[in-house]
């Protein structure tokens, strides 16, 4: 999810502030002049179909992921986003007049999504992904507004952002915006069909996938030239989801639809930060929209999924007789099976699993060390919890196990060294 990692590289904002200081100051004055507090409580009476569409769009845009804190009231904010420089809290977007956005007009709402400016004129931090939402149509923004304005108002006060100087100067964001706020994000695949167009909107704008999957530069900006090629901001890396990246790990449109629609595909199940994304957002997409997302991610002419290459004979013989295989049989086979096929509706297959097919062993090692909590999906699917093995595997054993898995079922090289594991502990 966006936020946890976005707040992070705000570090260099100060520098940017200097570069674009003057222009920023002028703009800032304008924003603040036009900013308002107080004012009438908005009475929004949108037709039911607009509200329903707004609900759908808010799910596609995954608003709840940040604006509903764990254990908190829906859309009442409070999710803390840690950064090296302090903590940013998501805000209350229920229509409470005092604690929420009950006095915001549709125009105010639009400005927040489109320009990253609050109703009071202050700048938002890009933890709120307005860099992606900027591409949203006004009609969609208004529909989301209509939806959130009829939610139950929640009396939950916003928490103050706790950034240290100079990052607590919101004005700094003005300069940042001038450099990095674009009207539209580049396409990652080729296509021109309506479905592809729709997919691009869903992925780049509403789904704001790039906020995690696109690498970030030194001031926390998305490096758009390398859109969606994957990035590791959190513990679990967001993998490469460009057409080439997906195809190299065996993904097909059907696989993506299953994964995004249900959390489960032959290629694996959603874990880490993707699990809540599926649960809160993508599983609610219509079949057409899911298909559009898959078409956009792979392009109108999707590359064929790469078959699992036969394991390198010497490497696999080595792996099969070594410590990695012993650990697999001792710790993994009880659930994933000696043949790596898993158990339907219970345990994912490791054979041909997308995570094993990543060249970067990071996610595999993280899963081995930390385990994966029980994952409930819609449709009563539920993968049992995977225990973490950090206390049962030494660095060398974990590396050997990773290599066994990569060589045997991932088509990757058995080149993971113990030091890689140690670095991830």
């Amino acid at each position: 999810m966006t936020v946890r990692r976005t707040g992070l590289r705000v570090v260099i904002i100060a520098a940017v502030v200097l570069i674009v200081g003057i222009a920023a100051a002028a703009l800032a004055m304008r924003n603040l002049w036009s900013g308002r507090t107080g004012g009438p409580v908005q009475a929004v009476n949108a037709p039911a179909d607009v509200v329903a569409r707004g609900k759908y769009l808010s799910e596609a845009a995954d608003c709840a992921a940040c604006h509903t804190a764990p254990g908190g009231a829906p859309f009442a904010g409070g999710l803390p986003m840690q950064s090296g420089f302090g903590t940013i809290y998501a805000t209350n977007i229920t229509p409470d007049p005092d604690d929420g956005i009950g006095r915001w007009s549709a125009e105010d709402f639009w400005r927040a999504l489109h320009d990253g400016v609050r109703r009071d004129g202050a700048q938002l931090y890009p933890a709120m992904p307005y860099t992606s939402y900027r591409g949203m149509t006004r009609a969609d923004a208004d529909a989301i507004y209509a939806y959130v304005m009829q939610l139950r108002p929640m009396k939950v006060a916003n928490r103050r952002t706790e950034l240290n100087f100079p990052f607590n100067i919101r004005l700094g964001m003005l300069g940042w915006n001038m450099l990095f706020l674009h009207d539209s994000l580049p396409a990652v695949s080729d296509g021109r069909t309506p479905a592809w167009q729709r997919g691009r909107y869903l992925v780049n704008v509403l789904g704001h996938c790039g906020e995690c999957h696109t690498p970030r530069g030194i001031v926390g900006e998305m490096k758009l030239s390398r859109s969606l090629i994957g990035f590791a901001l959190g513990r679990v890396a967001a993998p490469d989801i460009t057409p080439a990246g997906l195809a190299s790990r065996g993904w097909t449109a059907a696989g993506l639809r299953a994964y995004l629609g249900r959390g489960l595909a032959r290629q694996g199940s959603a874990f880490g930060d993707m699990h809540p994304v599926i649960m809160l957002s993508t599983r609610n997409l219509t079949a057409e929209d899911l298909n559009a997302v898959a078409i956009y991610l792979l392009g109108d002419n999707p590359p064929p999924p790469a078959p699992l290459p036969p394991p390198d004979a010497t490497e696999s013989a080595e792996a099969a007789s070594g410590a990695g295989r012993m650990s697999y049989v001792a710790l993994c086979a009880g659930c994933h099976g000696l043949d790596g096929n898993g158990v339907p509706n219970t345990v994912v297959a490791v054979r041909n699993n997308s995570t094993l097919r990543l060249a970067d062993p990071r996610n595999l090692i993280v899963a081995m060390l930390d385990g994966i909590g029980a994952q409930n999906f819609s449709h009563r699917a539920s993968m049992q919890a995977m225990p973490g093995f950090s206390d049962k595997l030494s660095d060398a054993e974990a590396a050997a196990l990773a290599n066994y898995l990569r060589v045997t079922w991932g088509g990757q090289k058995g080149d993971v060294a113990a030091s890689v594991v140690r670095a991830l502990r």
Binding site: V329, A330, L331, A333, G334, C335, V343, T346, A385, D391
Partner: protein
Amino acid sequence: MILQTRPLTVTINGRRYGPIDVPEGLMMIDVLHEMLGLTGSRLGCGIGICHACVVIWDRDDQTSEEVQTCITGAGFFDGKRIRTVEGIARRNDKGEILALSPVQQAFLDQFSFQCGYCTPGFVNAATVLIERLKRAPVPRGQVEATVAAALEKHICRCTGYVRYYQAVRDLILATPGLTRDAA
């Protein structure tokens, strides 16, 4: 079909077993049941969820932890020390039971279990918890939360958990050294 085997040497309840040839890929619960005659550990789900099958792994650093034997291969236990429910009570040389452990006695006194199928797992979990509290006592006010957290993973269909939890709580509160006064 030729079965690959691997030698297993393991210390269970203080007694050394092996090396015995164990077909590769057998889970520990099957070795306990089929090869070692230790049938006290229960198979409830077979996928690591219910914790009826747990044994206690005594680590070299003097700590102990639960391990689900239904999903853990025999090979994992090679060279290790474990306790099964058969090893919890105090026995004499002939293997006769001299005294139940405090946990077992508490479960009995408080009518904690019904069908008893989950009981080996609860005995082991509570034993591990008490051993942990010996090393790191908790404030008295946190005992209930500590018990609940330690037993949460164990499934019991019969009892509704109340008498298990109460028995462990009361035992902890009554045993000197497991709790401290303030936070």
